[in-house]
């Protein structure tokens, strides 16, 4: 791990390859470089400029989204796109072209970036934007850190009146219920996402809760306060707390908690967008073996049927899934050559790792995704096959032209090895 603290530091000459490392919030091996060197970018944590009248911000790549929010929310500006954690760097947000609950309206983080500086292994500094070196710009967005080191980026923030979100939670009883909401008038809401009860079967298959949020109006009253201290899971439980029976109860309770079909309320942005950031080391509840993530996207035309089949497989496997999230992505063309978000339905799951049976389930899900030309999200992957990567990312060959010869990752070597 080599720390980078100043923008003028060129990529160091080391034996072997290098890979930028943000805040390590990716789940798989896309932020690892076995046998090579990681460039730790958190020290690049300065702002270059912020104009509170226009919301245009320029900052170094190691700045955390949480640090941006601390600075800008008071001025009435919010992140234009945010994932489910604010503990990621701007570099990581660009390199995985992250998406949030407003993808259907705003696209991805990459869509918001107006320009960025890239330092190549050769020491060359390139200012990239949609008009300058547009090809390298598109390769770097979602480029998994393989096109060079992003030193800073500029993007436009979004106007808000206050830190609150008007939230509506709507219960739906089946997968069709979800699609009715997601493709109907609810689609117009700023932030939408659905939680799915992965253990429900039969006519309840795909039941869950649809969450829709809108930044609160200036006149909202009864404003809730920001949550105080973060909770933490202070120890590693000897067994997974998310094993069969606990999971069943949890999912049942979560679903039943919604007594009424529709619940509305005003929430501070933190619990709405970042429920897990409030719990330090929340992943410990999964026990010593940890857990695996899975996120896929499948084209809309077949989305309904494939999603149904995937949910059936999961329910049948009895593996459960603590957080299962379903969302319909918007139609905007991807910002980057390797961007994961694209028009279609995305399903995000996480499983306590139970050994071979978990992996077998993943293989079944992969086959379903592959069949309809879908893709897996690299930020959450540790095991997809080179063939699935190639079929899920059709612009791969175009991307290869922009690879920096000095940069590589464990993920990249794994998914590009001997693709016949």
């Amino acid at each position: 791990m080599l720390p980078v603290r100043f923008r003028d530091q060129v990529v160091p000459r080391v034996a072997g390859s290098v890979l930028p490392y943000g805040n390590g919030r990716s789940y798989g091996d896309s932020c690892l470089n076995n046998g090579g060197t990681l460039l730790a970018t958190r020290g690049l944590d300065r702002f270059l400029a912020f104009d509170p009248s226009t919301g245009l911000i320029r900052c170094e790549a190691g700045v955390l989204l949480s640090e941006i929010l601390s600075l800008t929310v008071g001025y009435g500006w919010f992140l234009p796109v945010t994932p489910g954690t604010r503990l990621i760097t701007v570099g990581g947000a660009i390199a995985n072209d992250v998406h949030g609950k407003n993808h259907h309206l705003a696209g991805t983080f990459g869509h918001q970036v107006t320009c960025l500086e890239l330092v190549r292994g050769s020491g060359e500094r390139v200012l990239c934007s949609a008009t300058d070196r547009a090809d390298l710009f598109a390769a770097t967005i979602g480029g998994l850190g393989l096109t060079g080191l992003i030193t800073w980026a500029e993007f436009r923030l979004k106007r808000i009146a206050n830190p609150y979100v008007q939230v509506e939670r709507i219960r739906f009883d089946s997968l069709d219920g979800f699609f009715d909401l997601a493709l109907g008038a609810e689609r117009e809401r700023e932030y939408t996402v659905a939680w799915i009860d992965c253990l429900a079967t039969g006519r309840h298959l795909g039941r869950g809760i649809y969450m829709a949020g809108t930044h609160a109006a200036p006149t909202c009253d009864g404003a809730p306060r920001a949550p105080g201290r973060t909770l933490s899971v202070p120890f590693d439980p000897p067994v997974s707390l998310i094993a069969g029976p606990t999971l069943k109860t949890f999912n049942e309770l979560f679903y039943r908690k919604q007594f009424r079909r529709v619940q509305t309320g005003l929430e501070h942005y933190a619990p709405f967008f970042y429920p897990l950031d409030g719990i330090d080391q929340w992943n410990r509840i999964y026990g010593p073996k940890g857990f695996l993530q899975y996120q896929s996207v499948v084209p809309m035309a077949l989305g309904r049927d494939v999603t149904r089949e995937m949910l059936q497989c999961i329910a049948r496997s009895g593996q459960g899934s603590f957080l299962s999230v379903l969302k319909v992505f918007g139609d905007r063309p991807p910002a980057g050559l390797l961007s994961f978000p694209r028009p279609g339905v995305t399903l995000a799951l996480d499983f306590p790792f139970k050994g071979p049976s978990t992996l077998r389930l993943f293989d079944t899900l992969d086959a379903l995704v592959a069949q309809v030309g879908g893709a897996i999200y690299p930020a959450k992957d540790a095991r997809m096959s080179p063939a699935l990567f190639a079929s899920g990312y059709p612009r791969l060959d175009e991307f290869r032209r922009h690879l920096d010869p000095v940069f590589s990752s464990s993920f990249w070597r794994r998914v590009t090895e001997d693709v016949a």
Binding site: P3, F6, D8, R46, F47, L48, F50, L71
Partner: protein, 246 residues
């Protein structure tokens, strides 16, 4: 009125963390640094974080007779100085110093003589207006000479004694003098060392420094437990101490 703060060695990780705290309070800052391009990047950041004004000046501790010009420029630009933090320093290669009188002298120039130049000039300015705080980053390494790091330790120890005397002298003038003694801090200076539970972040140390300045403390061990660790280290009898590899 917001504080007027001079920081020498402003590109240091610890100094930058302190500067951010003052910036957030709307301070006016003068950043003196060897690498002015890096200091300029820090200055932009401090402006975004709320600093009223930030000025960058060049300063290299190895260039003789630079202290005068720097102190005058900072004093003029800020219209007087409320807090001066002197942070620059470099960790010499002890075995190389042991083999070379020239290298030893160079290490002492950077780590103590250049600092004393600045202190003398700043102390007189502050005394003339009867106000201000002089804060210097020393080190726990200055509390006892050790075979592994005694040139650096000598510089920091010399600073501590100088500061002690200066504090004494400046009591009637109403000028405060603070010697900061950090333990292990995770910064570029210590990048090569393996890290463990005793290590602190520059942010933690910066918080302690700002508090100590506000309190008017004269000596700060940061984090706090180093006061006790160093007490024990100082108390170990020489005959035993010299059998260790410390």
């Amino acid at each position: 009125m917001s504080a007027r703060v001079l920081i020498v060695g402003a590109t240091s990780a610890i100094a930058e963390a302190v500067a951010r705290r003052y910036a957030a309070e709307g301070a006016a800052l003068f950043l003196a640094a060897r690498r002015t391009d890096r200091a300029a990047a820090i200055a932009d950041d401090l402006r975004v974080r709320g600093a009223a004004v930030v000025t960058v000046g060049a300063y290299d501790a190895t260039v003789p007779d630079t202290a005068d010009a720097l102190v005058a420029a900072a004093w003029e630009t800020l219209g007087g100085i409320d807090v001066a933090l002197i942070a620059h320093g470099s960790l010499p290669d002890q075995p190389a110093c042991a083999a070379s009188a020239a290298l030893t002298r160079q290490a002492l120039e950077i780590n103590v003589l250049s600092v004393i130049d600045l202190l003398t000039l700043l102390a007189n300015r502050m005394a003339s207006v009867g106000h201000g705080t002089l804060a210097v980053i020393g080190s726990v390494a200055g509390d006892r000479g050790r075979q592994s790091n005694y040139v650096y330790g000598a510089a920091k120890g010399c600073l501590a004694i100088f500061m002690q005397g200066l504090a004494h002298r400046l009591v009637p003038a109403g000028v405060r003098v603070l010697t900061i003694k950090p333990g292990f801090v995770d910064t570029p200076m210590t990048a090569a060392f393996p890290k463990g539970p005793l290590w602190a972040s520059p942010q933690t140390v910066a918080r302690d420094i700002q508090r100590a300045i506000e309190r008017g403390a004269q000596v700060l061990y940061t984090p706090w437990f180093w006061r006790w660790i160093m007490l024990v280290i100082r108390l170990i009898p020489t005959s035993i101490f010299q059998r260790t590899r410390l």
